[in-house]
Symmetry: C2
Subunit: 239 residues, 2 copies
Amino acid sequence: MIYVVGLGPGGAAEITPRALSALKKCDLIIGYKVYVDLIRPIFGGEKELIVSPMKKERDRCEEALRLSLSGRTVGLISSGDPGIYGMAGIMLEVAGGRTEVEIIPGITAASSAAAILGAPLTCDFAVISLSDLLTPWETVTKRLRAAAAADMVICLYNPASNSRPEHLARAADILMETLPADRPAGWVRSAGREGQERCVTTLGALKNQDIDMFCTVIIGNSVTRVIDGCLVTPRGYRE
Amino acid sequence: MIYVVGLGPGGAAEITPRALSALKKCDLIIGYKVYVDLIRPIFGGEKELIVSPMKKERDRCEEALRLSLSGRTVGLISSGDPGIYGMAGIMLEVAGGRTEVEIIPGITAASSAAAILGAPLTCDFAVISLSDLLTPWETVTKRLRAAAAADMVICLYNPASNSRPEHLARAADILMETLPADRPAGWVRSAGREGQERCVTTLGALKNQDIDMFCTVIIGNSVTRVIDGCLVTPRGYRE
């Protein structure tokens, strides 16, 4: 049995009882160092904890499968929701039905960032990652243009990284082909963790801000506005 | 102080400690009957619980504001995440800065349905509600077409209701203008609650299925496939 478990934004207070109870059933728990460190205070004494390196997702899933087939119960952990840009898909692919896999959702970055900014996602929205490690940049830009044209709120995951610091500025330029530069927008760094920061700003100003891989960015639709320092999208046009 | 609290899919095991701890600070808790019933076993003896009728969201927020301004700490509860098609936005609008409002996210239906179906949301996706109570149907159809044209996975909230039983079939026809009828899709009824059901199917077959307001529907993108009875979208095209 393999449990693929989402820990939510990063604090113990946002891990669900269901996630904890699945991890309690595990013989060993695998994840990036930062996630393993998060659960070490809870399970450190009683479980084998395996720190897995970044960017070796397939290897990690193959190890989880091997351990599971040897008769052990495995927990594969990550922050947020493993079903949203997470390990759930690749684990199901690697397992291919050879062992039971249960996905346990956590609160994803779109939800946690939205709550910190106000309520920008009350209406239809698109979730788009600006990473082109696995998706060609042309596909990313097509999706940005489609979401803007359909007046959807846009939530950006992986807005920048050391190897692609310019992606967010390029995305903002693409959106400003059709959206106004003063469109309300916001970002959150390290939602729910030490060092949390929030900023309510505009689409145009996103280009000049210090936004990194720990940030989630939200760009409003045509009715999103700022109320008392919060980014709010009214639920519809008919009220 | 008003806490707008998401209870997640519906079982006590998916309510976060943060949500429970906020409700513990409240003098009274307001929500639809089904949500109040959910927390009654936990808080029934010690808190005033106010059952509020459906479709009176603005009235409920005005009552929450009035009670908060009278010096009481108020919890406004709903299932899922109140920031996603929930009460967070309207509460911030009604409050208008007159009282402190904290939004506490929960696991939204997209996450819980995806986990039950497999891992369809590992890649860019659009979240679209088929309710036209607050958004004109023409806007909904524009968003459906945009998401399909950009090869995004599509997650449908409010796919049908008694007053608009035909919306899902109409949406499927719109999507099939460009997407194949055999595109993998799935739906979940009452995720995480009694009576939970799941179905992995195709876009074309959605038209003939018994899908109601308690369901969430997910339609895959061009690379989504079925692995061991699960709906899985590989994370990218480059692996």
